[in-house]
């Protein structure tokens, strides 16, 4: 028994090392801004660059818009599929794999071609960027929301709500959404992480996003990119923690998913 425990811990330690080592290495590298001594010079230079905050702010804005628009589009649709057309589920799941199959560069060229002329001259609006981001995050959003709805036995809860006089919208707002909070949270987090670091769409559509900024810095400087990488990691992590804290109440209803048996 002790031997098995030893091996379990060994594998955990190895996995941990595998994931943490690059991060630690990057962090150590980022401290070498000043010759011969470990300092936060690289970080100070990053913060002194006004472009850092403006591009991060822009990407943050885009991320929030993507999550909001994505939810508005996907949540009612997924609920509708679960309730009215559960047989379509496997088709939609198959469709949700398409963004994995189509490279972002192909997607963006398609978008540019489609929307650069009237009546759909959207190529110079941020809406197109958000739309592209929604497509890229579609697999994560759909599967997360769909799994969340299936776990709560959506149909029966909706019927119970209706038998008590609730309209569809009432039932969705008061019962469905609160009970899929953790699914929504994980969908939001994944989307967030994708959008913050996204490069191809932002570059090709010429937007001052964080991804292109990092690529630019990486081309010209040595230590600043490492500092940037650590910073963006920390900032994303912070946003995740904030989101998690805001939806804290969802933890109770997570374990509640098993009560409806």
């Amino acid at each position: 028994m002790r031997q098995r425990k030893f091996w379990s811990w060994l594998w955990v330690a190895l996995a941990f090392t595998y994931f943490l080592l690059p991060l630690v290495a990057t962090f150590l590298f980022s401290l070498r801004g000043k010759k011969g001594v470990l300092s936060f010079l690289a970080y100070r230079r990053v913060f002194d660059d006004p472009q850092f905050l403006s591009t991060f702010g822009f990407s943050l804005e885009m991320a929030i818009l993507t999550v909001a628009a994505g939810f508005l589009l996907m949540v009612p649709t997924t609920i509708w599929i679960e309730l009215k057309a559960p047989k379509l589920r496997s088709l939609i799941e198959a469709l949700s794999y398409l963004p994995f199959v189509i490279p972002p560069i192909v997607l963006v060229f398609g978008l540019i071609r489609m929307y650069s002329r009237p009546p759909f001259a959207l190529v110079s609006t941020p809406a197109l960027l958000v739309a592209g981001y929604i497509v890229i995050s579609f697999p994560y959003m759909y599967r997360s929301i769909s799994a969340g709805l299936q776990a709560i036995h959506l149909k029966i809860l909706m019927e119970a709500a209706q038998s008590l006089g609730a309209s569809w919208i009432s039932a969705v707002l008061r019962i469905v959404l609160p009970n899929i909070r953790s699914a929504l949270l994980s969908a939001a987090l994944l989307t967030f992480a994708i959008v913050i670091g996204e490069l191809t769409l932002a570059v090709m559509l010429a937007w001052p996003a964080f991804g292109p900024y990092m690529a630019l810095v990486g081309r010209d400087r040595a230590y600043e990119p490492a500092a940037l990488a650590i910073l963006s990691f920390l900032l994303t992590w912070l946003s995740v923690a904030v989101m998690h804290a805001v939806t804290r109440g969802g933890e109770r209803s997570d374990s509640g998913a098993g009560a409806v048996h």
Binding site: L157, E159, A160, A161, Q162, S163, L164, R252, G256, V260
Partner: protein
């Protein structure tokens, strides 16, 4: 005019008919159970009354109003589901209050009503608990309170006790009946458990393959089953294969022995039917004059707690005989010869098929 009227209801799922030509009247305040095995259409019928399914043909009237095109949320019915369907993100109090807050009731009034309901189902101390902190029986009580809080016209229960274990089931079904009587609400109860249906209903509707086989009081269903399906579904029953000897006098032939029924037989001489006799109405003795008599040998004795069941082979048929467990009375030995008797009134002729038609 009955409170709930179902007229010639039909429902198909794809090509298969799930409910066929179903007609039924339920009076106000009555407790009616739909009883049948899975797939008999009882839950589908309940869901049509609730408004979650739409009948392909037929009329449903609640309190005189045609509701077929009325959405479930406007029918003012209270529904209790098999898996309770409590909202996991709300406490017991909030669950019960839900329907009332949808109806925009004042907060103070909601509080009074919810306390009333919690007291009705004996769940006052659990008001602040979440569904996952409650046992199955407790959850079902909250579900019942939630359904009744909105003062619905009718209460519909879809196998509410089948997810609970036996002892809780027995206790809770009596409570449900008490509450229903206290509130006086018209109730339709769906179950596959015949003991449940018989013990708490005013009337039982036995269904099979989308049709009503029989409607009657529990005693009527039990004592005079109208069809083979009803007879074999309710309680244990001896189905004795017999040939009609004299239809007018009610005489059957069981392996050469003459068996009498109390009423004329509705089949021609020579037809093979079944004579149904309840195990508790057979006596292991020669009985009174005029009783039917069969002789056979005991093949098994089964101890069932308060009853002892003898399995007897007589004239090529297998019969069960139920006796009260009397510790002073010696049980017959396996293999011993035995004479059985039962009154002609206990012998019910069961024909090949029957279809129920309300008057």
């Amino acid at each position: 005019m009955a409170f709930l009227e179902l007229e010639h209801i039909e429902k198909d799922f794809g090509a298969a008919p799930v409910v066929s030509d179903l007609s039924l009247d339920v009076e106000e305040g009555e407790f009616v159970s739909f009883l049948g095995g899975s797939g008999c259409g009882k839950t589908t019928t309940l869901r049509m009354i609730a408004g979650f399914e739409v009948p392909a043909r037929g009329v449903i009237r609640i309190d005189g109003q045609d509701v077929v095109n009325v959405a479930a949320r406007h029918r003012n019915i209270g529904m209790v589901f098999q898996n309770y369907a409590l909202f996991p993100n709300m406490t017991a109090f909030q669950n019960i209050a839900f329907g009332l807050s949808i109806a925009s009731m004042a907060k103070a009034d909601i509080r009074i009503r919810v306390q009333e309901m919690l007291a009705l189902v004996h769940m006052e101390e659990f008001a602040g608990r979440y569904p996952q902190q409650l046992s199955g029986g407790q959850q079902q009580r909250v579900a019942l309170a939630r359904a009744l809080a909105i003062r619905p016209k009718m209460l519909l229960l879809d196998e509410p006790l089948s997810a609970l274990d036996a002892r809780i089931r027995t206790r809770l079904r009596e409570e449900i009946r008490q509450i229903q009587r206290a509130v006086g609400i018209t109730t339709v109860y769906v179950t596959h458990d015949q003991e449940e249906a018989l013990s708490i209903s005013d009337r039982v509707v036995v269904m099979d393959r989308g049709r009503i086989e029989q409607v009657g009081t529990p005693k009527e269903i039990y004592d005079t089953p109208a069809s083979r399906h009803v007879a074999s579904f309710i309680g244990t029953l001896n189905m004795i294969e017999a040939t009609v000897r004299d239809a007018g006098s009610g005489v059957l032939d069981v392996g050469g022995v003459a068996i009498r029924t109390a009423a004329p037989i509705r089949a021609a001489g020579g037809t093979v039917i079944h004579a149904a006799v309840r195990p508790e109405r057979i006596s292991p003795s020669t009985g009174a004059a005029g009783d039917n008599r069969l002789s056979g040998s005991v093949t098994e004795t089964l101890f069932l707690g308060s009853t002892v069941r003898l399995v007897v082979h007589a004239h090529g048929r297998r019969l069960s005989v139920d006796l009260f467990n009397d510790p002073d009375l010696p049980l017959p030995q396996i293999g011993s010869a035995i004479t059985l008797s039962f009154a002609p009134e206990a012998c019910i002729p069961i024909y090949a098929s029957s279809a129920y038609r309300p008057e």
